[in-house]
């Protein structure tokens, strides 16, 4: 399973230089998290695989637009998010439903929600029930533990909106888990 804390060792400069081995390492690191993120938004295996492949090709093509090597992960997820958005736009679905802003700072970690083994299936089902915008933010928070600023950059939303979406997503998830022991 890919680790979250190995970002510093990623061969991004070598990938910029066009080394296929570096790209292979990068893709190997992100292929599963990226697929999980995309699949959980589109719920279609083939569409998910297509979007991941399109994301990889776009990453190779546009690596010049990456400003900081350390932000490679969020940059890659940003491309995937745009592809998902295009996918939803084709299906005329609205990804960006809005919620009232949440005034308090939101600082808890993605591991704060521990799930018992018997609750796992229920968790996945509950995740599916969340609105797309909340699910997107929650997945980015759980899968890669991206900071709020980077989640905002990936989803092209204000940090306040990210905070409120994450808050409401976690709140509804907790509520649903409490309801279903």
């Amino acid at each position: 399973m890919p680790e979250v804390a190995d970002i510093e060792q990623l061969p991004v400069p070598q990938a910029r230089a066009g080394e296929p081995a570096a790209w292979d390492t990068l893709f190997r690191r992100y292929q599963l998290p990226l697929y999980v993120y995309v699949f959980e938004l589109v719920h279609d295996e083939q569409a998910g695989l297509d979007i991941v492949q399109e994301t990889f090709i776009a990453a190779v093509k546009h690596i010049g637009s990456l400003r900081e090597n350390g932000k490679f992960g969020s940059w890659l997820f940003g491309i995937a998010h745009q592809k998902v958005f295009q996918h939803w736009r084709k299906r005329k679905e609205n990804l960006f439903d809005e919620f009232p802003a949440w005034p308090d700072a939101f600082e808890d970690s993605p591991d704060d929600l521990l799930i018992r083994r018997e609750q796992e299936a229920g968790f996945m089902k509950l995740l599916e029930q969340l609105p797309l915008a909340q699910r997107s933010v929650l997945l980015l928070h759980y899968i890669e533990d991206f900071p709020l600023e980077e989640i905002g950059r990936i989803t092209e939303t204000q940090i306040g909106t990210v905070k409120s979406r994450l808050h409401y997503a976690k709140k509804s998830l907790r509520k649903l888990l409490e309801e279903k022991p």
Binding site: Q31, P33, V36, Q53, D111, L113, L114, F123, I143
Partner: protein, 134 residues
């Protein structure tokens, strides 16, 4: 007890072989030389990517441009009409100026020195008082 990340990643482990295949496919596209696009394909893609997603915005902009061109055209037409109207006005202005010149010419000064006195600059007050004392 597991974290949501562990649950999410473990549930999609089955997709790994397929992901390995598509990763390899993506890497092969790197080594392929990039062929230049035929112009038709380029314009088709530009149409699909640039125009179609925001067609209402482009249509709005086009409508605004048409409106601006129409306004500009009619303003130009109106200004050319006012030019043609102003020609007799110009004639009357010249006529009035000629009459004014004639009137001024008739009013020749009777005493030219009087006028010259008026034009001469005023002298300092101190000098004037000195003259009075003398």
């Amino acid at each position: 007890m597991t974290t949501p990340r562990e649950i999410l990643l473990s549930r999609h482990q089955a997709a790994l072989p397929k992901l390995d295949t598509l990763r390899a496919a993506a890497l092969t596209t790197m080594s392929q030389p990039v062929e230049p696009w035929p112009p038709a394909a380029f314009w088709l893609l530009a149409w699909r990517e640039l125009f179609l997603p925001v067609r209402f915005a482009w249509s709005g902009l086009a409508a605004i441009w048409v409106l601006l061109i129409a306004v500009n055209f009619f303003q130009h037409k109106a200004s050319s009409q006012t030019k043609s109207v102003s020609a007799p006005m110009g004639v009357s202005f010249h006529e009035q100026q000629r009459m004014l010149n004639e009137l001024l010419a008739d009013r020749t000064p009777i005493n030219p020195d009087a006028d010259r006195q008026k034009i001469s600059p005023p002298k300092p007050h101190t000098e004037l008082t000195r003259i009075e004392f003398v």
